[in-house]
Structures are given as structure tokens and as C-alpha cells.
Symmetry: C2
Subunit: 167 residues, 2 copies
DNA sequence: CACCATTATTGATTAGCATAACAATCCGCG
DNA sequence: CGCGGATTGTTATGCTAATCAATAATGGTG
């Protein structure tokens, strides 16, 4: 549900553009009442732009998240990264494989547990993260330009109350 | 990025639970500043529960959306449904195949355009949609219980301003 | 009528994600 | 010390959804 395609090519049937109105597709009433719907559309719109933003540096959304988490927790294990990102351990493997293959992260042998690696950012990874952070901040500012700073803060607070619920 | 797993099984290394603090995984600073991150987490949390809610009636999220849109626009074409949902026409085919296979929707031959079908809900589809709408409303109320009615309205308004931007 | 656009459909391809299995290693307990 | 269970990284497999191209049938337009 997005209806973000260009000119809504609804079938015009047999009526020209004389006086007849083109049959406009209506949005179901319930969509307007539900928070989850507005949430989904806003998230989708922003995520699209976010993906395009990081793609300019040939980075996928999950990779940026991984870089940021590794930078904030140098030497963490792969499972720690996986649980932090809410993905499976197997997903972390391919994720780090990609980062390591591009020289952005490295698997150092852990000194306390020979099963695990201590994941670190390389120098290239740190500069890449710096450039990404800059662009992502700009992206977020641009996408929320319709909100004042106070509104932005209130929005974040309300969203946190939605997912931070004590269950 | 979700960190919603149970007890954060961060590796404890070699320290017991005596006085040493278990190495807590920190969230990157930038995540807290970005609207898109809070948006993503809230959307994910709510979507999870939403999917489970409709799954109780053996319906997938996209199928509920299709049912609601068809009910609001009886006799629309498949491409109209596809553009409304923001998916490809080929996706609408399999979507309606499933609904038709379960007797919830029907493809009636259009009387004005022999290429298109007029998609309608069957009686079973209408009662199914009614039951779904009931449960989804309850789900939305439950998920947004941390917000007052006024806050909910303000939240929806702000979210709309995020995806309704005039581009 | 001729030409091009549109519709529904099929098939192939891809990406993402969860699941299961497995060897290496760690930890706890006798 | 040694054994059993748990954990870590890894690989393979399957599934779901999304994307794209191609095609036959039909519509609209000059």
C-alpha cells in the first residue's frame, strides 16, 4: 500500500476527458484510522531514500548498521552483533564476509575465547563510516524537513514508547 | 537493528557474576538522533504483531490490504489494485489467485474492457474482511496503548507529513 | 485498417531470511 | 582430570517476496 506511482493509471474505461470523472481509487476507511498504516507508509518512504543514500557509497542498509555497531563496540563477537541487529548468526557471517572482503572490517582472534572473533573496523572502515554518518544525517534532516525540531523530538519519543513497551 | 531478543546473550568472557560488569553492547549514538531508526523499530514491532493477528485467520498482511481495497473499490482492475498497493502487476496476479482460490474474491469479466477483470469480494470475503477489520482495530488499539488519543492523532498527522510530501 | 499502448499472465532471476546441521571450543560438575 | 552439555562460527538448504522480460489478447487512435 503506497500509491506512490506516478499518475495513477486507473483505467479510464470508455470516457474521454470531457466531463466525466475518472474513477478514482479510494483508500479504505480503516487505513486512515490505524497508526500502523501511517507508520508503514512513512517508514517505507524514508527507507527507500535511506537505501539510495547509502547505495551511493555502495553500502547496503544492514551494512551501515553493522559498521556503526562495530564502531560503538569494538571487538564484539559475531553473535553479539547478530543479536543487536535482530538477525540470525548465519546472517552475521555473510554480513561480515562482505565488510571484510572490502577491507572495512577485520576478524581478529579473540584472546579469551578461541571460538569467537573480535570484530574491529579497519581504518578504511572508520573513514567509510564517517562519510556514511554524514550523508545519513543529511538524509534524515531532509526527510523530516516538514517537522520542526520540537515535533521531531516528540515524534521520536512517541515512537520509542511504541517499541519500548515493557513486554 | 532491534535488540529485542530476550536476555541479550552478550558473551561474558571469563568474568563470573561477582563484581565485574558484563560487557554491555552499546547502541551507536547516531541511532538515537535519527528519526528513521525509531521509525523502523516501531514499524517492525507493530508489523510483527499485525502479521500474527491476521495470521490467526490464515491471512497474510498483503491479503488483508487487498481485501480492504477491493471492498472500498468494488470492480476495480488488477492493475489498479497493484498501483494502489505499490506492487507489480504480476504480484497482483498471485495475490488474487490466492484470494480467489479461497473463495474470498472473484474475477468477474469487465463489461467495458475485455482485457480486464472486475474484481469483487464474495460474501465469504466480506465476512472475512469484517472479522479481520475487527481484530486489526483491536490490535492497533493494543499496540498504541501507551499513547493518548490526542497523541495518536498528532502522531498520525506527523507521519502523514513525512510521506505525503509534495515531491 | 494499421499501429501502438495496455492488461493479465507466465517464467526466470534475485535477494533476504530462517532453519538445520556440524566441527571446534568452552564451561560446569562430578 | 574428564565427560557431557552448551555456545560459536560456518555451510547448505529452502522459502518467501520482489523484480524483470516476454507474450497473447484487447483497446484506442489516427
Amino acid at each position: 500500500m503506497s500509491a506512490r506511482k506516478k499518475s495513477a493509471s486507473a483505467p479510464r474505461g470508455a470516457n474521454s476527458d470531457a466531463g466525466l470523472v475518472a474513477p478514482q481509487i479510494k483508500e479504505p476507511l480503516i487505513f486512515g484510522e490505524i497508526v500502523g498504516y501511517a507508520l508503514r507508509r512513512a517508514q517505507f518512504a524514508i527507507y527507500q531514500d535511506y537505501a539510495r543514500t547509502v547505495a551511493e557509497l555502495d553500502i547496503r542498509p544492514a551494512q551501515f548498521a553493522a559498521l556503526a555497531i562495530i564502531a560503538a563496540n569494538p571487538g564484539l563477537s559475531q553473535t553479539a552483533l547478530a543479536t543487536m541487529m535482530g538477525i540470525d548468526r548465519s546472517g552475521a557471517v555473510t554480513l561480515i564476509d562482505a565488510l571484510e572482503g572490502r577491507g572495512l572490517a577485520a576478524r581478529l582472534p579473540s584472546q579469551v575465547d578461541r571460538r569467537t572473533y573480535a570484530i574491529m573496523l579497519t581504518a578504511a572502515g572508520q573513514t567509510m563510516l564517517a562519510r556514511l554518518t554524514e550523508r545519513v544525517s543529511e538524509h534524515d534532516r531532509r526527510m523530516t524537513a516538514a517537522l520542526s525540531e520540537a515535533e521531531k523530538a516528540r515524534l521520536i519519543d512517541m515512537l520509542r514508547r511504541l517499541y519500548d513497551r515493557p513486554n
